[in-house]
Amino acid sequence: MTQKKKDNLTKVMDYLKYEDPFSKGVAFCPGCGLELLLRFIPQVMGNDIVITGTPSCSAPVLLGQNNQSWHKLSYFGTLMTGAAANATGLARYYRKAGIKNTVVCFNGDGTAADIGFGNLSGAAERNEPFIYICYDNEGYMNTGIQKSGTTPFGATTTTTPFGSASKGKNLRRMNLALKMAMHKIPYAATATLSDLDDLAKKLLKAKEAKKRGFAFLHVFAPCTTGWGFAPENTIEICRRAVKTNYFPLWEAENGKIRMTKTVKKPKPVSTYTELIKKFAHLSEEDLQILQDDVDYEYCMLGGLSLLEGECRLPASLED
């Protein structure tokens, strides 16, 4: 009986090889996607990582309070304008000192897509050997839910409220992961929390790719407080984001894009937005704009992944 039950155990458990370095009672909201991601990373990649990060929801926990800490990892807190530049310095120091570890630059989408994008792009262009993980909660959630570059069309935030003068964000979101893949770095990927085996594989691939240079991971992590949904729906929202192609899962090695999960019959984006309060006011036309944007991005990705096979690549890039 026990053995039969044990066969049911999900394969994700095999990836969790290391101890969870975080203390149990950590000050994140109930149902926070970021907390699951933060605990998952060191359990998969090992505890010999140094995290650098910026002021964000992750910082109070990662940085610690007063002279005590919430976890056993090493953390280096930096400014939002220089996140990737600081990680560059750390990675170079460890390489020169001969210390073998992994530098993980762990930032929100505000740093990665808006404020710190300049030096993120620079570090990618110089091919610095560290891993940059962006957890995307589509806004500046820690400072009071302001909009960022990755906030989708129509979403209400405190700077793009719904009212007589404004109907939510009036521009479509940028695709940060695709921008980073266009840097032709050794590894760029998107992942989300509903597919943890996929996320674990990508984390391990990023750790492997770090030996060749820059690795970028874009992880979709919903925010219960900022988006307005019940805390138990965090994983369901990630799953629906994948099933509606709102957040397609793909990876790019040296700029070669490959879909890691294809949805045969994608559902309309309304099945995703219906769970979330920040989309509650969307009219039919607004939903259509959002749907067109999702279709456009997916078509672009699909086209790029097909093109790679049809065009002839330089011999040095082929495996």
Binding site: N8, T10, M13, S23, F28, G64, W70, K72, P231, E236
Partner: protein
């Protein structure tokens, strides 16, 4: 007492010999997950999706939450494929 055994280089402001900070997050809970041991098929989805990672294996046949730290978000009950976890109001358990 925890010690920093993973990485030897610590910052000058931190003392790795101090015990880790730990909030009493079990206090936040309004609903408590209750696991039905007969329905549990030991798939482990509750354990991997729990943001706080408090679901513990009990004798390798069932999972059970650590109620000292469970924040009561309800992800385990939502993700359970057999609906073996139900969220009961915390008031029912208080004396």
């Amino acid at each position: 007492m925890s010690s920093n055994k993973y990485f030897k280089h610590e910052g000058p402001w931190s003392d790795s010999n101090d015990p880790l900070m730990c909030s009493d997050t079990g206090d936040w809970r309004t609903k408590r997950p209750v696991v039905d041991k007969d329905k549990c098929i030991f798939c482990g989805f509750c354990a991997i999706y729990c943001p706080i990672q408090v679901m513990e294996m009990v004798e390798e046949s069932c999972f059970s939450p650590d109620l000292d730290f469970c924040k009561g978000c309800g992800i385990c009950a939502k993700e359970c494929p057999k609906n073996a976890i139900s969220m009961m109001p915390e008031g029912d358990f208080k004396k």
